[in-house]
Symmetry: C2
Subunit: 199 residues, 2 copies
């Protein structure tokens, strides 16, 4: 998706060998207009799949997921990372290892909003080691729901998450796949598509 790649090249900042900061438009400050385009792109790519729910994880997945759900005309569920009095006690849940934060966290989805009749599209902002998507897949499996695929805004193609998830037979479509990046001059190169028809 050219609009997104241009934004990454213009505003992305590479730190060390693994961190790409895109917090000017994706995961801290958010560009609503770009998110709308991203949502429309995901909806177009996964059209005619009979999707009934979009599933993501708080917080950075919400923006792209929301516009995807709007365009598809279906509800968006964001899995919660923290327990709260406001969440139903009766949940699907999965442990997710975070390399960014260190340690594990539990994601939860109320059983009320996902069941065996659902066809689910997973959305997330980043795909690196694939652990967040693994967690969402586990939750969909607990619900007995069918996963039609995963839409990812930025995939770090030089890490193993994309291969891992695709090897499980999940259709993964990433709007931008980073082949390599280096801190010096924040140099970023993009890869061609992986299995998908985009990029």
């Amino acid at each position: 998706m050219d609009l997104l790649k241009k934004k990454i090249l213009t505003e992305g900042r590479v730190i060390g060998t693994e961190i790409l900061k895109v917090d000017s438009f994706l995961n801290h400050q958010v560009d609503p207009s770009l998110m709308k385009s991203i949502g429309e792109e995901f909806a177009s790519v996964f059209a005619n799949e009979g999707i009934t729910k979009v599933l993501t994880i708080e917080a950075s997945g919400i923006a792209p997921a929301l516009f995807t759900g709007l365009q598809l005309g279906v509800p968006v569920i964001f899995a919660k990372k923290t327990a709260s009095r406001n969440l139903d006690p009766d949940t699907y849940h999965a442990a997710v290892h975070s390399f960014t934060r260190g340690g594990e966290y539990i994601i939860r989805v109320s059983r009320r909003y996902l069941d065996a009749g659902d066809k689910v599209l997973l959305i997330d902002d980043f795909l690196a080691r694939g652990r967040a998507l693994l967690g969402l897949l586990e939750i969909a499996e607990q619900a007995g729901a069918k996963v039609v695929g995963a839409g990812v805004v930025i995939e770090k193609g030089f890490q193993d998450g994309g291969d891992l998830i695709r090897s499980m037979g999940v259709r993964v479509e990433s709007l931008a796949i980073i082949e390599s990046m280096s801190e010096e001059g924040s140099k970023i190169t993009f890869a061609d598509k992986k299995n998908g028809h985009m990029n």
Copy 2:
């Protein structure tokens, strides 16, 4: 906002005397179409204020804030509740007491995205004791930014947060103000507007 009130009456569930669960459309499962209407309403109410940024807190504020920002044509910033390698170390921050979760948490906004030239609209999903809005006001003050007002999706009018924030001279516009609610039969009544011209 009639569409919202109808949704609250139809799907809201009252638990005890203080918890209103609206996780079927607002803060777990999200209705993107309703969020779009809510964003358009906030943008209309706060039109002609020269707003440059919409500021909210992850995760439940993101959906209404995003559509408000889209409609106003400005970026949306969501304050982070957790420290992360991905957030700039140089942040504005404020402590927020949570009655729902118990205890305090710190919200953070990168100094990169808010400064004295900004006119900020605060958005949040709920206003109860007002502590989240207090935290956002503190962050805006640290940045030297002007706060033009706060847009709230659901205000618990029977708690003191709305009075507290309004007494500070902040324009608070709530799309639905709950006057009273009781668990038996999930009975909910709405109040008229408070200072604002909506409701």
